[in-house]
C-alpha cells in the first residue's frame, strides 16, 4: 500500500507530508527505540507513542519513510522539522497502538522480521 493508504486506514492527520505515494509493505510498533533498532529489518512505517526527536533519528537510521504518532499525540516543532528535513511523512492518529497496528495488519502490512 501507499503511505496515503496508511493515512486513510488510520483516519490520520498529516502533520508532515513527505512523499505520500511511497509504497510501504512493513511496519513496526514500539515505544522503545532500542527495540526498533534491534529487530527491524526493511521496515517502512514506525508507529510509536514516544515523542522526542530520537524517534525521527531512529527512523532515519533504519531508512523508514513514515512515522505514525498514536493516541492523538502531537510532537513538537523540533520533531516535525527534523522529519521534514529528511523527507519523511508524519501522521497522527487517534487510535491506540494496538488498534492502529491491527488495522494496518488487517489491510496487509506485515512485521517484516519474521515469516508471517
Amino acid at each position: 500500500m501507499k503511505i496515503s493508504d496508511v493515512a486513510a486506514i488510520l483516519d490520520a492527520q498529516v502533520l508532515v507530508e513527505g512523499n505520500m505515494d511511497t509504497e510501504v509493505k512493513t511496519a513496526c510498533g514500539s515505544d522503545m527505540m532500542s527495540d526498533v533498532l534491534a529487530f527491524v529489518k526493511d521496515q517502512s512505517v514506525l508507529l510509536t507513542g514516544l515523542m522526542n526527536p530520537q524517534v525521527v533519528r531512529t527512523a532515519e537510521m533504519m531508512d523508514m519513510h513514515c512515522i505514525v504518532f498514536v493516541r492523538d499525540k502531537v510532537p513538537d516543532a523540533t520533531v516535525l522539522r527534523l522529519a521534514e528535513d529528511r523527507d519523511m511523512t508524519v501522521l497522527q492518529t487517534r487510535y491506540r497502538m494496538f488498534t492502529a497496528c491491527g488495522k494496518l495488519y488487517d489491510a496487509g502490512l506485515r512485521g517484516g522480521c519474521e515469516k508471517e
Binding site: M32, D35, A38, N52, Q54, R57
Partner: protein
C-alpha cells in the same frame, strides 16, 4: 583512494542532538554511493554508540574513517567506564536510569546491537577513566 577521516564532538548535555554525527556519516556514505545495507549497519551501530555516550558518559568524540572496503568508527569518552563488559554485552542488561527509558532507550540492546551490525568490535574500558569503542563495518560483507 586514501580514506576520508571525520571527527565529531558528541555533546553530553543535549539528548535532542544525539545522533547528529551518525546522521552526517550516513548522508556522506549515501553521497559516496556505498551499498545501502552497509550504510544502514554503520548508521545503526554508530547511532547506538552515540546514544550511549550521551546517556552514560556525558558525551565524547567520534572518529570515522571511510575507505572503499571498510568503515571504521572509534567512539571515545571520559565517562565512568563499564564495570562488567560481559554483562553489558548481554541483551536486556542495562544500567540506564528510568529517566532514560522514558526517552525510548536503556532497554539493554545498545552494545548487542552494535556487535550484531558490525564485523569487528572491541571495547577498551577502565572504570573511572572512560571507554573507547572501536567498530568496523566491511562494505562487501553480507550480514
Amino acid at each position: 583512494m586514501s580514506g576520508l577521516s571525520l571527527k565529531y564532538e558528541v555533546p553530553g548535555d543535549d539528548f535532542t542532538r544525539a545522533g547528529e554525527a551518525s546522521s552526517d556519516v550516513k548522508r556522506k556514505l549515501k553521497k559516496l554511493g556505498y551499498d545501502p545495507d552497509a550504510i544502514r549497519r554503520v548508521a545503526i551501530a554508530m547511532y547506538e554508540g552515540e546514544i550511549n555516550m550521551v546517556i552514560h558518559a556525558g558525551g565524547g568524540q567520534a572518529f570515522v574513517t571511510i575507505e572503499p572496503q571498510r568503515v571504521d568508527i572509534v567512539l571515545e569518552d571520559h565517562g565512568p567506564g563499564i564495570a562488567d563488559v560481559e554483562k553489558a554485552m548481554q541483551a536486556g542488561y542495562s544500567t540506564a536510569p528510568d529517566q532514560v527509558r522514558s526517552l525510548g532507550f536503556g532497554a539493554g540492546m545498545g552494545l548487542p546491537n552494535m556487535k550484531k551490525y558490525t564485523d569487528e568490535m572491541t571495547i577498551d574500558t577502565e572504570v573511572g577513566k572512560g571507554t573507547t569503542l572501536k567498530m568496523t563495518v566491511l562494505v562487501n560483507h553480507k550480514s
